[in-house]
């Protein structure tokens, strides 16, 4: 559905996007992840034909963004970052305006508008000026204008930023529902959002693609290893001389001291026997007292931090 090939974008001397390639299949929800300033928004602006790339090509539903920009725009619904809207129009007027600009035939216009009002629950604010709406409602108006022409593709730039937790859940559910029939690209720097809504994730940093895969694939790929938390009662220097000799230990760090227990965070690497078991027998051998062994898989946060720092 969307094919991005060797995309690069330079603003003056800053290289915002560097040789990025990826593909989004029909009906897929793609999460676009990266720290602020990584090039997510730039990539989205290029796909929606707002700005052209310096290098590389993008095709949307078979249409090239440079050769057939109008055909591309017709198939895309776009919600830009920070949801710019005409603050002096009423919600109803604005939706009607977008419907006209999207050239929805007059016979279907009322019906489409009615349906979108229902989908985005905008009924109570129809007669209000957009400038007076709360952030959550603005966001919904933004989504409504993006979906009013029933596009195959939705491009949403940080759709949940600035919303309260309830609203975030609401928008996520809406995206999930929409994702069943539409192709969606969604950018975010909120990590749980990705595992909650996306089929596939792309992580970019400093304009470059650093990882891609399903959320669980990424977890495996970046991890392979788990994190072990353990509280040990023994001399600090004893522990820190023994730990490096254990073959599952990749890194360790003292994170807490409680009474005489020292709490360590140990990042493990793949070994034949179970890290927990190894640590336990090391403790027995050295007469340490263990009060905790707790295993944790790498979360999206850890993967993200690992790939982008």
């Amino acid at each position: 559905m969307i094919e991005v090939k060797n995309l690069s974008k330079r603003y003056g001397i800053t290289q915002a996007v560097r040789d990025v390639s990826f593909e989004v299949k029909r009906g897929e929800v793609l999460g676009f992840l990266g720290p602020n300033g990584a090039g997510k928004t730039t990539t989205m602006k290029i796909i929606t034909c707002y700005i052209p790339p310096t290098d590389g090509t993008v095709s949307v539903a078979g249409f090239d963004i440079l050769e057939n920009p109008l055909d591309v725009r017709k198939r895309i619904g776009y919600l830009p970052e920070s949801t710019p809207l005409y603050t002096d129009l009423m919600v109803e007027e604005y939706l009607y305006f977008v419907a006209q600009m999207r050239q929805i035939p007059i016979s279907q216009r009322q019906q489409r508008i009615k349906k979108i009002i229902e989908t985005c629950s905008l009924k109570e604010v129809l007669k209000k000026d957009i400038g007076q709406l709360s952030k959550g409602f603005k966001q919904r108006v933004g989504l409504a204008q993006a979906m009013i022409h029933d596009p195959d593709i939705l491009i949403l730039d940080e759709p949940t930023s600035g919303l309260d937790p309830n609203q975030i859940i609401e928008i996520r559910q809406l995206i999930k529902k929409l994702g069943k029939e539409k192709t969606i690209i969604l950018s975010t720097h909120i990590l749980p959002e990705v595992s909650a809504t996306c089929d596939r994730v792309i992580i970019i940093n400093e304009g470059q693609l650093v990882a891609s895969g399903t959320p669980s694939e990424l977890q495996e790929q970046a991890a392979g290893d788990t994190i072990l938390y353990s509280s040990i009662k023994a001399l600090k220097k004893d522990i820190e001389s023994v730990l490096p000799t254990l073959d599952f230990v990749k890194e360790f760090r003292l994170i807490d001291t409680q009474d005489s227990f020292l709490r360590y965070k140990i990042i493990t690497q793949k070994t034949e026997s179970d890290p927990g078991e190894q640590l336990f027998s090391a403790a027995v051998k050295n007469n340490w007292i263990l009060s905790e062994i707790h295993k944790e898989n790498l979360s999206m946060e850890d993967i993200f931090l690992k790939l982008t720092s």
């Binding site: 034909c49 005409y86 129009l89 007027e93 999207r102 050239q103």
Partner: protein, 237 residues
């Protein structure tokens, strides 16, 4: 065409939802009427010559106030990103906004209808110069609008747009005025006279419709609308 009309309609609505539009119209009407009727009954001449002749100077402030927010606000709010990712060609967007501002101007000028009515009631005016004068006012207004819209599209600050439009309009107005033409080398006189907005306005407002003046105004409008399209496109450079 549907798209241009839809955009023009929305723009026009934006003018009238803000109280600024009504303040502007009021100031325009009070100022143009007062300046005219101030001396009209003393002169005892059933002519609108003075009314028409003051328009270029009133427009100097009035038109930049109409055009200043059109693109600047779009840029400031970021809505230009949504507008330009709709299936709209750049020239359609420019044209839609120009048409809306022209309709707004037309409404303002139509509201001065009380002036010709008064003139007709109090005397027997020669209608040629009056109709010609209104035509000239519209053409000149459209030229100022095109210029003002272009300038609004290169900044995101409305006040900056207002001041620069005012300065450019002023410059283009006075270079055709006599006191400027006397003070420059003779060689430049025809050029300055041709470029000045004022000199073309005078002949039209006398009721003489010369194709040279029409061509001047239409190419002036076309040039600045073209520049406007280019400046909207400049995001792609």
């Amino acid at each position: 065409m549907g798209i241009i009309a839809a955009l023009a309609k929305k723009e026009l609505k934006s003018y009238f939802v803000s109280p600024v539009a009504y303040v502007l119209i009021t100031i325009f009407l009070v100022l143009s009427n007062w300046l005219f009727f101030n001396t009209y009954f003393l002169d005892q001449q059933a002519s609108m010559r003075l009314f028409i002749a003051r328009m270029p100077w009133i427009f100097l402030f009035f038109i930049p106030a109409i055009t200043m927010r059109v693109w600047a606000e779009e840029k400031k709010l970021g809505t230009i990103e949504l507008l330009m990712t709709l299936p709209v060609k750049d020239f359609q967007a420019v044209l839609g906004k120009f048409i809306a501002s022209f309709i707004f101007l037309f409404i303002c000028i139509a509201l001065t209808i009380s002036v010709p009515i008064t003139v007709a009631v109090t005397g027997a005016p020669d209608w040629g110069p009056i109709i010609g004068g209104y035509l000239g006012v519209l053409l000149m207004g459209a030229a100022y609008l095109a210029l003002g819209l272009f300038i609004s599209s290169v900044t995101e600050n409305q006040i900056v747009a207002f001041i620069i439009s005012l300065m450019c309009s002023f410059f283009l107005l006075i270079i055709g005025e006599n006191f400027v033409l006397y003070s420059i080398p003779e060689f430049f006189v025809p050029l300055f006279e041709f470029l000045g907005i004022g000199s073309h306005f005078e002949s039209i407002s006398r009721g003489v419709i010369d194709s040279r003046d029409l061509i001047y105004y239409f190419s002036f409008i076309f040039f600045f609308l073209f520049m406007n399209v280019k400046s909207v496109e400049s995001r792609k450079w």
